[in-house]
Every structure is written in structure tokens, then in C-alpha cells.
């Protein structure tokens, strides 16, 4: 029977008050809630305990944190308390005024100023929130034991590391590469090209665009290009990650990898794909298109289209050693990757070096040369970078050091050294740096460059930088050329090695990598002569960002700092008032004070010649962040804080303790006050009861 009045029992919604006059009215949701709360069955003591413990917890932790920060002083950083929070709007104004662009006299409209200010404020808010977590004594003390439980008992890992089978660990981006969607699918490319944020430009997502650009640039100078993709660990060792694979399982590449190889071999396929993808945007007027997501790609592709014949006639020589490494598992009798590290094992790396030699011998005619390199076996032991990223306790027993035998390459009595004048140049990332740079903890002079050099019997020039193999080394090469130093002069072959995960997550920049030799620039920045040393004081104008320890695979990191108002502390006059300084921001996964440099901060530093330090310590191979703009073309000085050679580690060295004694102290005081109040209330009640009885 149809009703003429609204009844909603059959509607999408919860039953409500019936309109029938005989039915008792149902209470509204709010009335029900009020009644519920009013009828909470809880004793006063239970209420007190719940409220007291809760308040103790939320008040004591920030109080202890503040005590710690006051005790540590200003050196420990800008603080994480309410005072810094309240000052954020003003620090954003200061940062905005000091940022390049505004201070350089560029006029901004009011609206632009508002948006710019908002973006600085957002950056400072984010930085403040990150600092709260990173600096919290709670985080510092709880992460290691909790992580040990999560990893050892529950197999959870963390946001950077996955726990494999047995004692194996995997780096998350490596696994994401293998299980993720195809990196060359239209959706993925478009989504990545549209990405980015207020502070970071969207990445250039297609590796082939960068590879063909580089191929073209080298072909114009008659240089051959060999590409070596260092396979991510799960691609070669899936059986160490999931029991569903056995040791003989084929490689587990990203779904787009085969297409990537096909298009690299036949660039026509690449051009066709992009033509189809960009076809809908062809008719968009250029003025409009310039601001669209596809414009950087359109521009890059135009450049490649113009050089299509050159690209087709100079194919990229490509090496994917994954299949051979799978086959090598049997021959080598040991897994080709390190158990708790992201990288390959020494024998696997040597095997790839042999493949490179075979490929080069077949494909690239190089003048004969036989250098008498020797190899010397040496045992090294280390804990892998992924194990460090899990942040386990220092005395953990879950993952031990792994011992491996490296093959150090020597020439005569000296360790192998790169040669800037060699006709072969290797561009590489941490897969090239491991076993070569002592900073990585796996020995030195036994890396990929050394093994290739040994196999080819010729010297090698090397540009290596940990991480960001998609663009870092090409940018370094490009900058050097722009500075007037022609690193490609006399080169016949460039070997470009990068980690396979870069294919799906790397930024394959093409705009920042022109390979045009420039003229030496006149610099108004401070320069330190070879062997020289100056003590200076200056004010930080800008500092490049430093990654948080534990969030990256590399142990060390270098930041660049732009100093102004520079003057000498040693009495001798300086020939410049500005300096670009490179300085360690992280050593062995611990921040130095340089990681916290802020605009306006006054610094006293010892400055040395960068090139000289680089020769000794291979600074250029350490992952670093650069300051944008023209500063990229300046040669920095190498900086060290007066306090110590490493710039002083932040946090632990600045007087911060575990925080537990302070927490207990605060708990004790609060418990005392609470007890006193409870006793007073009890007395009052007894008094009232006696009065009532009387």
C-alpha cells in the first residue's frame, strides 16, 4: 500500500522518526549521542586514570623535548617547539626576501607575491613538521627497537626497505620497478610528466628521450655510446624475495623493459609512439602549449626529429646483463648481489665488465693499447646500505656484515686512478662507485671502472655520482663543458651506466644537459688556489637541500652553500665577497651541522680548493645537491667547519641525550601533583561527609 506521507524505512537512509501519531518519536542521532555520553558507565577513579595518563603523555613529551633542545643549545638546530611554529609566518617572509629573484630586484605583482609567500610558508611548514619527527627524542629512542621487532619478527621492513627471504633485504624502488606498471605506458608517462610540486619540477619520464639526445650529442662529435643498465636486485634474484621463484627463474623486468629495448634498437618505433601520444596536442597554439605538461617533451622531440637521420645511423650499443647474471648464479656459486645491499657482488660486477669488453671489442673500433694492470684480491666486510636504512639498533644481530673478495686494480705499485685524457669515459652511479670509493664501505680501487679498465687494458676517464643516474652524470659533464673545460675532447667512447630502477622512477632531464663547450667564465666568487687554505666568515644566503638520514641509500651527502659578506678571519684580504661552498651535510648516515644551514645564518669555515680535495677524497662521486641557476656553473670551494673536519655531526654531538631521564622526571613531578590533588580531594570529601553526618 502506498503511503501519502514520508516514511523512509525503505530509503537509503537510517530509520528516523515515524510520522505515525501512535508510534513513539525516535530520538535524533544527536539526542542518542547525548544520551549515550551522559550514560557512560565509568567510575571517577577510572576517569581520573584515563585522563591523567593521557594528559601526562601529551604534555610530558613536548616538555622533555623542549628541555633537551634548550640543553643542546642553538647548534642543535632551529628547534621544534611552539615558538618556532609561531614564527613560521615571519621566517617565510625572510626567506622570500632573501631568495634569488625577489632580492635581485624583480618586480612581482601583488597576487604573485601572495602565491610566492604562500609557497615559502608551505615549504617552511613542511620543513618544521619533518624536523618535529626527525628530532623527536621519542622517534630517536623508539625506532631502533620497534624496527627490530617489526623486521625480525613480523618481516615488515620500513618505507625504504623490504625484507626478503633469509637474511636478504631489498630496496623498495627496486621492487617497485619490477612489480610496478610499465614505465613506457601512455598513462604512466603522462602522469609522471604532469607530476611535480610547488618546489620541484615534474620529471622528464621517458628514458629514451634522454638516451637519444645523448646519442645525438655524442654522434655529432664522433663518439660512440654504450649503455649499461645495472639490473635491480629483484630482477636477477627474485627467489630471494618470494618463494614462488626458484634460482633458475628468468629475469623479472618491468613490463615495459622489452619495449624499451625494442625502441632503442629501432628509434622509428620511438618516434611513432610519441607522434601518436602528442597528436591530440598538435593543433594547440604554441603560446598556450608552452605552459602545458607536454611542452618540454614536444621541444625535446622536435630536436630529436631534426636529427633523426643521425640517430638512425648511429645506433645505441646496449647491454642488459640481467640474463647473464641469472645464468651466472650457477657458475659463480654465490648470488650475484650483496645480501643486505642494493648493489651487485664483486664477481658479478667483474662478469659485467667482461661483457662490456666483449661488446666494445665487437662494436667500437678503438686504437690498440695494452696497459699492464694487475689485480689483487682483498677481503672486505660491511653491512649493506639497505640494512642501514632500516634503522636497527647499533648492536643488532639480525643482519651481520657480509664478507666479499674484491679485486683491486693496480698499475705498478699505485692503485688504479682515472685518467682525464683517456679516450673512454665512464658515466656511472653507485653501481660504479661501490668497491671503488672507500666512503661506501666496501673497499676501494676495485669498482666497475677499474674492472672495465683492466679488461680493456686501457685507462678510463670517470664521472661518477651516487644516485640519480638518469641525469646526474650527464649534468656534471654538461656543466664542465659549459665552464669551458672540454671533457669530451679526444674521447672515442662513452659508457653510460645507470641503475635499472631509474627507468621507471628517474628524471631523464634533457633541458639541463646540453653538451656545448663554453668559454671559461669570469667569476666574482672566491677562489682558493691549489694547496691553499683560508679561514673565512660569511652569511648564508641559500643552501641546497640535504636528504634525511635513513631516507636514501648513500651514506654521505654534500650540500652547496652560497655565502655572502665573506671576509677573512686570518687578516689577509680576500678578492671576493661571495663564495660558493661545498660541504658535507651527511656522513655515514648522520647529519652534520651543514644540513641545517638556514638563510641569514653566520658561519665560520675553513675553505680549500675543491679540485685538490676531490683528487684525494673523490668528493665529486658523493651524492650532492646543487643550487639552481647560474650558480651551477661556478666552481665551489671545499668547506669545513672550524669545529671539526666533518662539520660536526648534528644531534648526537650537540648534547642531546636519550630523553628518558627527563621524561621520568616530568612524569614523577606530574604524578606527585596528581597524588597531592587526589589526597586533598579525599580529605575534603571526608570532611564534607563528617559535616553531613554531624
Amino acid at each position: 500500500m502506498k503511503s501519502n506521507h514520508p516514511t523512509f524505512h525503505s530509503s537509503i537512509l537510517p530509520p528516523i522518526q515515524s510520522s505515525s501519531s501512535s508510534a513513539p518519536p525516535l530520538p535524533s542521532r544527536e539526542e542518542q549521542a547525548n544520551r549515550e555520553v551522559g550514560q557512560t558507565d565509568i567510575t571517577r577513579n577510572q576517569s581520573r586514570v584515563l585522563v591523567a595518563v593521557f594528559l601526562l603523555l601529551i604534555f610530558s613529551i613536548p616538555v622533555v623535548q623542549q628541555i633537551q633542545e634548550w640543553r643542546a643549545g642553538r647548534d642543535a638546530g632551529p628547534g621544534t617547539g611552539v615558538v618556532r611554529m609561531a614564527r613560521l609566518p615571519w621566517t617565510a617572509i625572510r626567506d622570500m626576501r632573501q631568495a634569488p629573484g625577489v632580492s635581485a630586484g624583480r618586480k612581482l605583482s601583488r597576487i604573485d607575491r601572495v602565491f610566492r609567500y604562500n609557497s615559502f610558508l608551505l615549504r617552511d611548514i613542511k620543513s618544521f613538521e619533518d624536523d618535529i619527527v626527525a628530532e623527536s627524542f621519542l622517534t630517536r629512542n623508539l625506532i631502533p627497537p620497534v624496527q627490530q621487532f617489526l623486521t625480525g619478527v613480523l618481516g615488515a621492513g620500513n618505507e625504504k626497505a623490504y625484507v626478503g627471504r633469509g637474511k636478504w633485504l631489498f630496496y623498495r624502488p627496486d621492487v617497485d620497478y619490477a612489480i610496478g606498471p610499465g614505465f613506457l605506458t601512455d598513462d604512466r608517462l603522462v602522469a609522471r610528466a604532469k607530476g611535480g610540486s610547488e618546489w620541484a619540477a615534474a620529471p622528464q619520464p621517458d628514458p629514451l628521450v634522454a638516451i637519444f639526445q645523448f646519442r645525438k650529442q655524442l654522434a655529432e662529435r664522433g663518439i660512440a655510446l654504450v649503455i649499461v643498465v645495472a639490473p635491480p636486485k629483484p630482477v636477477v634474484c627474485p627467489e630471494q624475495f618470494s618463494a614462488r621463484y626458484d634460482a633458475g627463474a628468468p629475469t623479472v623486468h618491468n613490463p615495459s623493459f622489452d619495449q624499451f629495448v625494442r625502441e632503442m634498437k629501432d628509434p622509428n618505433l620511438f618516434f611513432k609512439r610519441w607522434e601518436a601520444l602528442l597528436a591530440p596536442y598538435r593543433k594547440v597554439p604554441e603560446a598556450k602549449a608552452r605552459r602545458a605538461w607536454h611542452w618540454p617533451l614536444t621541444e625535446a622531440l622536435r630536436e630529436l626529429e631534426a636529427a633523426k637521420d643521425l640517430i638512425l645511423s648511429h645506433p645505441v650499443i646496449f647491454l642488459d646483463p640481467a640474463a647473464d647474471l641469472v645464468a651466472a648464479k650457477r657458475d659463480m656459486g654465490a648470488p650475484p648481489y650483496l645480501e643486505t645491499d642494493t648493489h651487485w657482488s664483486p664477481p658479478a660486477m667483474q662478469r659485467v665488465a667482461v661483457q662490456v669488453k666483449d661488446l666494445v671489442s665487437r662494436e667500437v673500433p678503438l686504437p690498440a693499447m695494452t696497459m699492464r694492470y694487475r689485480r689483487e684480491a682483498m677481503k672486505v666486510a660491511n653491512l649493506g646500505d639497505i640494512a642501514v636504512m632500516i634503522k636497527l639498533p647499533a648492536d643488532q644481530k639480525l643482519y651481520g656484515k657480509q664478507e666479499v673478495t674484491i679485486q683491486q686494480v693496480t698499475l705498478g705499485e699505485a692503485q688504479w686512478r682515472p685518467d682525464r685524457h683517456a679516450d673512454v669515459l665512464l658515466l656511472g652511479d653507485s653501481f660504479s662507485n661501490i668497491f671503488s670509493s672507500g666512503d661506501m664501505g666496501w673497499g676501494e680501487a676495485a669498482g666497475f671502472a677499474e674492472q672495465i679498465s683492466f679488461e680493456l687494458g686501457r685507462p678510463l676517464d670517470v664521472i661518477v655520482r651516487n644516485d640519480a643516474g638518469a641525469h646526474a652524470t650527464r649534468e656534471m659533464l654538461s656543466q664542465e663543458l659549459a665552464q669551458g673545460s672540454d671533457r669530451l675532447a679526444g674521447k672515442k667512447l662513452v659508457i653510460w651506466e645507470f641503475a635499472g630502477r631509474e627507468l621507471s622512477s628517474g628524471d631523464w632531464r634533457v633541458k639541463s644537459t646540453p653538451m656545448k663547450p663554453g668559454k671559461p667564465r669570469e667569476s666574482h666568487f672566491l677562489e682558493i688556489a691549489d694547496g691553499g687554505e683560508r679561514r673565512v666568515t660569511g652569511v648564508v644566503r641559500e643552501a641546497s637541500p640535504a636528504p634525511r638520514p635513513g631516507s636514501v641509500t648513500y651514506r654521505d651527502h654534500v650540500v652547496q652553500v652560497h655565502l655572502t659578506d665573506v671576509h677573512a678571519d686570518d687578516g689577509q684580504p680576500l678578492d671576493a665577497t661571495e663564495a660558493l661552498v661545498a660541504i658535507y651535510s651527511m656522513r655515514n648516515q648522520v647529519w652534520t651541522r651543514a644540513a641545517r644551514y638556514r638563510p641569514g645564518q653566520k658561519l665560520s669555515l675553513v675553505l680549500r680548493n675543491y679540485g685538490e680535495i676531490d683528487k684525494r677524497q673523490k668528493i665529486s662521486s658523493v651524492k650532492s645537491s646543487l643550487l639552481p641557476g647560474d650558480l651551477e656553473l661556478e666552481t665551489p670551494c671545499w668547506g669545513e667547519e672550524l669545529a671539526g673536519a666533518d662539520g660536526g655531526t648534528a644531534g648526537t654531538a650537540s648534547g642531546k641525550t636519550s630523553g628518558w631521564p627527563e621524561l621520568l622526571g616530568v612524569f614523577g613531578v606530574c604524578a606527585g601533583v596528581f597524588l597531592a590533588l587526589a589526597i586533598a580531594e579525599r580529605r575534603e570529601r571526608r570532611g564534607a561527609a563528617k559535616k553531613a553526618a554531624a
Binding site: S47, L50, F59, R165, H253, P280
Partner: protein
Amino acid sequence: MVFSSHLFLFLFLPATLLLYHLMPRRGQHVILTLLSYVFYGWANPLFVVLMFVSTLIDYICGLFIAQQWGQSWKEPIPVLAKGMDRTRTQRTFLVVSLCSNLALLGFFKYFNFATGNYDAVMAALGLDGLKLDLWFRITLPLGISFYTFQSMSYTIDVFRGDARAIRNPVDFWCYVAMFPQLVAGPIIRFQEVADQLQTRRHTLEKFARGVAFLALGMAKKILLANPCGKVADLAFDSGSVGMLHSWFGSVAYAFQIYFDFSGYSDMAIALGLMTGFVFAKNFDSPYLSQSITEFWRRWHLSLSTWLRDNLYIPLGGNRKGEARTYLNLAATMLLGGLWHGASWNFVIWGGIHGGMLALERLQGKDSFYRGLPRQLKIAVTFVILLFTWVFFRAPDLPAALAYIKSMLGLGTVQGGADLLAGLLFKPYYLGTLILSCIVVWALPQTWDFTRRITWPKVAVILAALALAIVSLTTQSFNPFIYFIF
């Protein structure tokens, strides 16, 4: 700002409680409003301007509707008589309020969606010259769907005579901006809190129950929703996924969205209780539902109530014949789906729910599997929900359809798919899913659990709080799912 973060728990909340409770009664709403603006502006300071403007419009419209604009502040504002005709001015200002709110919501939430679809249609018709191809994208302000609905409910309630208009702007700003439920609900209708804005009690018992709600809400979010979310992310974001893994992923997502959203609602209720407000229940063990109709009586009650009162009933509800009832039902659910997000996936999600409700209505307000035993009915309802959640979670329609194909065993499995097994079946994730099943199907929901608090429950609540805080330290940033709606 996220409730389950160091910043909120150990800085914002202590400061808020301290300032609020130290403040005399008159200043409490001022401090709550200011802190709520800080809370909201934390995500993006510019969003604050938008919320301020929206609030200002509704405040002025409310006074005009109540015919109090320019009247003496000393006179109490009467409630408008129900069912009486309204003047042209009153109707005009209601329309102004509705249009401004809907325009705000429409522009910020649906602009990108609308232009994208327009371009797609033009391209399909071969009219490339008419495409907009905009280079910019509109950023969705946090929680705009929640606070515009909430703000609108004020003028609607005043117009209908369900609530008294507010003269004190601080009280109104406080109602709209109140941080506990600002960005992800529950949607508090004005008539529900109008009295509380005038007078409310602060008691130790109320605060204690708030602590219990906060602890359990945090535990739901940090201990259950976040790990379940990790499993769901792995399954939904992988290039190809096997049948078993796809089911695993969709079950994990069903748990994630429930624990995430109900955990947030619990925390919102908790923070309300700590500041003297009582907010109504938003979830009532939804996965115990034996039909989709019942599900909507248990899931996101504040939204379904809002849609009922402000959309379904004004459209005619079930009073205008069978055909019209089905139409109203479908329209309400489709718009409900679209309210969640500007994407065809949400429209389909709403469409499936609307279709199921219509089907169940045809079956005499019961499910088509009504003959099954209770447990099986619950199971079948849950499976239907799993399929609908796929549309909710997948980034776009092709991805949703591909995932459903995987669930039906029709998907293509690639080499790397089995790597997922190495992750999904870790004790951590398996244990979390088993624990989630227990919490969902065997334990009482938060309101029932905290109705009677015994000493063992005190221990459980404090243990949940401690575990959640300990676990929080090891987790990276995990915003709530409903923040984006």
C-alpha cells in the same frame, strides 16, 4: 594537519587543550576558532581565505533568512515557524547561500573533471579546435566537501525553521571551522549543535570517554588502516596482479577505508568530547550489514542523513510514486558518489549502490540473497562491497576494470606479479588482516565498547594508545583517505 602525527599529538593538541580550558567561557569559541584556522591553514594557508569567505556568506545569509539583519543584538532570535511561506528576500538569500556554496564546491572540485570531459568529447567529435586544453589545474582545497555541506546546512536549517539563526559571528565561525571534524567529517548539521554552541557541559567523565575514543580511533588508524593501506597500495599499484593477490588487496582496502574513516570519526568525536561537544555516531559496524540497504544505515551516517534531508526528501522521496522513488534513489546515490570525488569511478560507485538499493527495494526492502543464513548474507554483502570499493580505490576506470578482471581470474599476469607474494604474505600484513577481521566481525564498535568502561577496558584503552604512539614513530606520513574529498 593530521590527527595521527607528532605535530598534532605533541604540540597542537596540548596547546589547544591548555588554551581552551584556561580560557573563560566567552573566549573559548574565539580560541577554538583561531586554532581551527591554524589547523586548516596548515595544509595550505591560502585555503583559509576560501573557508572564511564561504562562512561569511552563510553568516550574512542566515541573518537575512531569519530577518535579523540590522536588528538589535540584545533581542533573542526566534526560530522561524515551520511550514510557513517565506518572503522573497528569505528565499533569495537561501538561494544565494546554496548557489555560492555549490559554486565554490563545483568550481574547486569539478572544474578539472568538467574541462577534461569536455575536451575528451570535443576530441571524439573531431572538433579539436574547440578544446580548452587548459595548462593549469585547480587545486582541491582540503575538506571543501565537508565544510560547504556543513555551512549550507545552517542556512537550510534556519530557513526550514529547524534551528535558530546565530547572531554572534564567533559562534558561527566556530561551528563551521571546528577542527575536530573540519576536514573529514562527520558532517555536523547545524541543528545538531546549535544548542551546544550556547551551553555545554565539561565533565571528567566526558573527557575520559573522549580519551577512550581517541585511543581507539588512533589504534584503528595507525595499527590497522595504515598496514592494510600498504597492502592495498601494493596490489592496486602493481603492473599486474594475480587473482588471489587482487582479492587480498581489495579486502585490505575495504578494511583500510573503514578503519581510516571510522578511526578519524572516533578521533573527531573524542576531540569534540574534550572540548565539551557531543557529535553523533558516524559508523555502526557497517560490515555486519546483511544488505546494501542496511549498509547505508551503518556507513557514514552523517552523509547519508544529510543527503536524505537535503536531497532525497526535497526531490520527493518516496511520496511521488514508484518510478519517481527509484529515480530519486538513483539520483541521490549518483550525486552521493560524485560528492566523494570528481571522477567517473565515483559516479559508477554511486550508481552501483543506487542500483543495489533499487533492486533491494524491489525485493521488499531486502537483499536478493535474503534466503541465506545470516553469516552468508553478511559475507555476500561484503563481497558486493569489495567490488564497489575497487572503483573507489582505482585511479581511473580502465584500472578499475582491469583490477576486477584480475579478481575474476581474467587478467593477464606478468613476470613480476609473483614478487607481490613475497610482500603480501609477511606475518605483519597477514596478522594485521586477521586482526582486522576480528575487530570488524567479532568486536563491538567504539560507542558500544566505551559505553561501560571497566578497569580491564582502561588497560586496553591505554595499551591501544601506547601501541599506536609507538607505531606512529616508525610510520611515514599517512594522511586520511577522506582528506581528499
